[in-house]
Amino acid sequence: MKFLLAALGLLTWSSGTAVAQKKPAPKAKPATATIPAATLTAGKAVYVQNCLTCHQADGGGVDGLNPPLTKTTWVLGDKTRLVKVVLNGLQGEDIDGEPYNNVMPAFDILTDQQIADVLTYVRNSFGNKASAIKAPEVKTIRATNKK
């Protein structure tokens, strides 16, 4: 992760000299480039404390038990569905056609900011690239969340 942060820093600081030579002409900047390093650091801290045991340090999950957070529509797709997974927990849902048998508890004790940070971190780690989630968005979803 330190490496990733360092790489991100390098990307924002020297946008496209040495990097551009290796990867020719990525027109659109990666979504991560616009996400402050502080957000990712805060998100990682929440991840390590609450998520890592089950979803593992590499976000790859555990076969048949805890789903991976990599390249799944649940992480990269609809933000509302993703925020609700954190608020309510999840059990018995197939993830992209695969069953996972463990229980995810609700993490509604986390603040809006913590949920925004950790989901932004997850959406921009482990090979994922997707837009950030902001605390006001979490607040809105929490307000209409049915228990």
Binding site: T53, A57, V62, Q91, N101, V103, P105
Partner: protein, 427 residues
């Protein structure tokens, strides 16, 4: 002329006959793969990959005639949940057929019957004198209606010598908290899970449509047992418990994540009817060798358990997930292995962020029907490398064990579906 034709016909037949005799002579030996199937084994042992099934191969049984039956966690692309494998004389096998449209874990055979489980039922199939199933599409349903709430769903099975079958029903919970796996959530008093799960149930091996009311809760307080076997020497059931998870995640003020990786031990229990191993009220600390009070029920990491709970027969590293237990009764392996236990450890995930562990087959020496002396890793490197194991990204995960008619040890892998066979080359 009349006489020469049959003679001419006899000649090739004789050649073929002697050729096949020759073939038998040269191929009777089951040869280990040049790389021992990628496994690390004690001196004198070798291993081969019997087959690549491509399915999530859970438990396995081999009939006296050498037919191999493998239970898949879910049906394969052809809709078959049980695979039939037949070996060539060099030990390599092909999947010859399949049946049973249900996934599951348990499979067990006697000379007369094959038993297999889904995650809520147990079926019985008749075997003929060749070890073939005669009623693949019409099994007898002997047990039905067992609890399956996804978590700890496997219904592992074994039989005693008196016509009883033992079925594990795993607890649908980590530690019977009010809110499962929720940080700080306390345990439910008189844990209701134990009424229908978290134990071993005994049924008749030959009666149809039995459910809880027809069976006996043989032993309770066992969170989840996947590996179990009947010890014919002591006439006793032995089981391997998967210990509870997440002491640090749920009680960070009482445990460090390092302690949580090493607690609790995975335990072997020698059961008698009516035993209670203590889940969810206690866990076993393998370093202190003490039964401890669970934090959900008043424990603080230091308080020893009170109450009359069963002492483990042996203890193993935390979270390494013992998925199969087999008492070795063959004569192929050296004397020290006879009547000892092999245990397949599926490997950990709940040791994170500490390095993961397991993905090996352990040998536990026994003497007079009791564990005697230290266990040792018998077959290692299913993971492919130490780095794969530490990262929890193994290539293979050992799950099932069976003894072949010649005393070979078969091991399944539910990650890629490889079937291994370990042999001893006499010197």
């Amino acid at each position: 002329m009349k006489n020469t034709l049959p003679r001419l016909l006899l000649l090739p037949a004789a050649v073929v006959g002697s050729l096949s005799l020759f073939a038998l002579k040269t191929e009777t030996a089951v040869l280990p793969d040049a790389d021992n199937a990628g496994l690390k084994l004690p001196a004198g042992f070798g291993a081969l990959k019997v087959a690549e099934t491509g399915g999530r191969a859970r438990h396995i049984t081999v009939t006296p005639q050498g037919t191999i039956y493998v239970k898949l966690n879910r049906p394969n692309s052809a809709g078959k949940g049980i695979l039939v494998l037949r070996e060539a004389s060099n030990g390599k096998a092909t999947v010859s057929s399949g049946f049973g449209n249900y996934g599951g874990t348990g499979i067990y055979s006697t000379p007369e019957y094959l038993y297999a489980s889904s995650d809520q039922e147990v079926f019985r199939y008749k075997l003929n004198s060749k070890g073939e199933v005669t009623n693949p599409e019409q099994p007898e349903k002997i047990i039905t209606g067992l609890v399956n709430r996804k978590q700890h769903e496997s219904k592992s099975i074994t039989l005693d010598k008196a016509g009883n079958i033992y079925v594990n029903v795993g607890a649908y919970s980590n530690s019977c908290q009010v809110k499962d796996r929720q940080k700080g959530s306390l345990g439910i008093q008189n844990c209701p899970v134990l009424d229908s799960a978290g134990g071993i149930w005994q049924f008749k091996a030959d009666k149809l449509n039995q459910t809880y009311g027809n069976g006996i809760r043989y032993a309770t307080g066992l969170r989840n047992v996947v590996g179990l076997d009947w010890n014919a020497q002591t006439n006793q059931l032995f089981v391997m418990q998967h210990g509870r998870d997440q002491l640090y995640d749920n009680f960070p003020s009482l445990y460090t994540s390092k302690q949580s990786a090493e607690l609790p031990a995975e335990c072997m229990y020698a059961l008698k009817r009516g035993d209670n191993a203590g889940w969810p009220y206690i866990y076993y600390d393998g370093q202190q060798r003490k039964k401890m009070m669970a934090p959900e029920y008043g424990g603080d990491g230091k308080k020893e358990a009170t109450g009359n709970y069963l002492e483990p027969a042996a203890a193993y590293p935390a979270h390494t997930a013992p998925d199969a237990l087999l008492f070795y009764t063959g004569t192929m392996f050296p004397e020290k292995y006879r009547n000892g236990a092999f245990i397949a450890f599926h490997g950990s995930w709940n040791r994170a962020p500490e390095p993961q562990k397991g993905y090996y087959v352990v040998f536990q020496p026994f003497k007079d029907g009791k564990p005697s002396g230290d266990w040792e890793v018998f077959a290692d490197n299913f993971a492919g490398s130490a780095a794969n194991a530490a990262a929890g990204r193994p290539e293979h995960k050992p799950c099932g064990l069976a003894q072949g008619p010649d005393g070979s040890l078969y091991v399944t892998d539910d990650k890629q579906g490889t079937i291994y066979r370990i042999v001893y080359a006499k010197k």
